[in-house]
């Protein structure tokens, strides 16, 4: 019980800190803009956007299930990073159980979005694949499922790539079949995540 209360206190503190950083950046932006210091206002707005990206990332992590199949999430590997420039926030969670593991990576403004969408929506490109990938649907979203070479002949890893607006959702699972990864993917609330990051 004490540990639970302590954890809640930490989460609340982090959330307050994030809000303060955002409020501070906005205050700087407003002051600079009113003073005609456009470049300073620009920088402060970028800082504020980074803070929002971090907050969104943490909210997305809350939506991700703590457990996928028999695999448990490893909290110490949870990661949210925000970038200013051409790539947006990166959100990551890992799961593991015995010899099987899974990774969820969400990259906002991903440079791979255009290519992935082209493959999903261009039949010719799909036909030119090397036979190890196929187009599937996960919760109504078109996705690209790729079989990756496993460590032994009878064990394979799979990777699922799902464009969600301007973000790319990548789900990798080791030691599984294609139906197993799709079953695990169905447990992830993609629609709620898409709403948060769009």
């Amino acid at each position: 019980m004490k540990a639970f209360i302590f954890l809640i206190a930490i989460v609340a503190t982090v959330n307050v800190c994030l809000a303060q950083d955002f409020n501070k950046a906005m205050a700087t932006a407003k002051t600079s803009y009113s003073a005609g210091k456009l470049e300073d206002a620009h920088f402060a707005l970028q800082q504020a956007m980074q803070e929002v990206d971090l907050t969104i990332g943490k909210e997305v992590l809350k939506l991700l299930p703590p457990k996928l199949g028999a695999m448990q999430s490893t909290a110490k590997d949870d990661n949210v990073s925000s970038n200013v420039g051409f790539v947006g926030a990166t959100i990551r969670r890992s799961y593991a159980q015995a010899k099987q593991s899974a990774d969820i990576i969400i990259i906002d403004n991903s440079p791979l979005i255009a290519m992935t969408n082209a493959i999903l929506n261009t039949p010719m490109l799909g036909m030119m694949s090397h036979g190890k990938d196929k187009i599937v649907k996960v919760q109504g979203y078109k996705a690209r499922l790729e079989k990756q070479t496993g460590s032994t002949a009878d064990k394979n890893s799979y990777e699922l790539q799902i464009p969600l607006g301007s973000a790319l959702f990548t789900f990798k699972v080791t030691d599984c079949t294609d139906s197993q990864i799709l079953e695990l993917a169905d447990a992830i609330p993609l629609q709620q995540i898409a709403k948060l990051i769009e």
Binding site: A19, F22, N23, M26, A29, K30, Y33, L38, E39, D40, A41, H42, F43, L45, Q46, A48, M49, V52, D53, T55, I56, E59, G85, F86, V87, T90, D103, I105, N109, P111, S166, K195, L196, I197, E198
Partner: protein, 254 residues
């Protein structure tokens, strides 16, 4: 950590491929702004122009009202929206409002820079109808500013100022990569020079004339495209007549 490293290596690899061609770099920046100029010019032409009929039987558009120009985002209003959305935990809306505010600031910055540019340069007059300030705040690029000076004898100077982090970084890599310098040939097509102490690349092609690219600080660049200029010295003299330090200061570059 490994995945982050692989992803960074992938991005760096992409950058090196792009850095191998100054023409590719310039073309991207040119195309960006040229598209904006074409769209601006199209809005100003007579919309009643006739077009040839289609052989497929499908009706051909012969005119229309075009699109109305929307004013740039109201920065103060967008900042207020961003704050209230953030307080209401509508983070997606807050992010969108911040993007709009950033665009608004960039357009104002761009207009300031445009106002600071001279109305005449090397005996050429500015064609204000081709002035462009464009901000996309969309992933890979943000602010671009363009002005064209010309005379009646087909001599033209186009200056583009870009605050595009990706291209400026690539240009800087080009400057520091010794294998990218072309020397010792009977006819050099490009070489490194300096414009008011800033590293630059100058290129010449018979079909396009002179192109001078200056990297400014960490994320900005200026490109001068000079058509029917007599020689390299004239191009350098023209570039040196601009207030580059002033532009750097407005863009927040050191």
């Amino acid at each position: 950590m490994k995945r982050t490293l692989y992803f960074s290596c992938f991005l760096i690899g992409v950058m090196f491929v792009h850095a191998a061609s100054a023409q590719s770099l310039l073309k991207k920046l040119k195309n960006k702004v040229s598209d904006a100029v074409s769209n601006t010019a199209d809005k100003k032409t007579d919309n009643n122009s006739t077009t040839s009929s289609s052989s497929s039987g499908k009706p051909v558009n012969k005119g229309g009202g075009g699109l109305s120009n929307t004013p740039p985002p109201d920065v103060k209003a967008q900042m207020a929206d961003a704050e209230s959305a953030h307080a209401a935990k509508k983070y997606s809306d807050s992010r969108y409002a911040l993007q709009q505010a950033l665009m608004g600031v960039e357009i104002q910055l761009g207009n300031q820079i445009l106002k600071s540019l001279p109305t005449t340069s090397d005996g050429l007059d500015a064609d204000m109808t081709k002035d462009v300030v464009m901000s996309t705040q969309w992933g890979w690029s943000n602010l671009s500013i363009q002005r064209v000076w010309k005379n009646k004898s087909d001599k033209q100077l186009t200056m583009t100022v870009g605050n595009a982090g990706l291209y400026a970084g690539l240009a800087a890599m080009y400057f520091t990569n010794a294998t990218m310098v072309e020397t010792g040939n009977a006819k050099q097509n490009f070489k490194q020079v300096k414009v008011k102490g800033n590293k630059a690349i100058i290129q010449y092609e018979d079909s396009t004339g002179y192109t001078l690219i200056v990297s400014l600080g960490q994320s900005s660049m200026i490109v001068w495209e000079c058509i029917n200029f007599a020689n390299e010295q004239e191009v350098m003299n023209t570039a040196n007549s601009f207030d580059i330090d002033g532009i750097k200061k407005m863009l927040g570059e050191k």
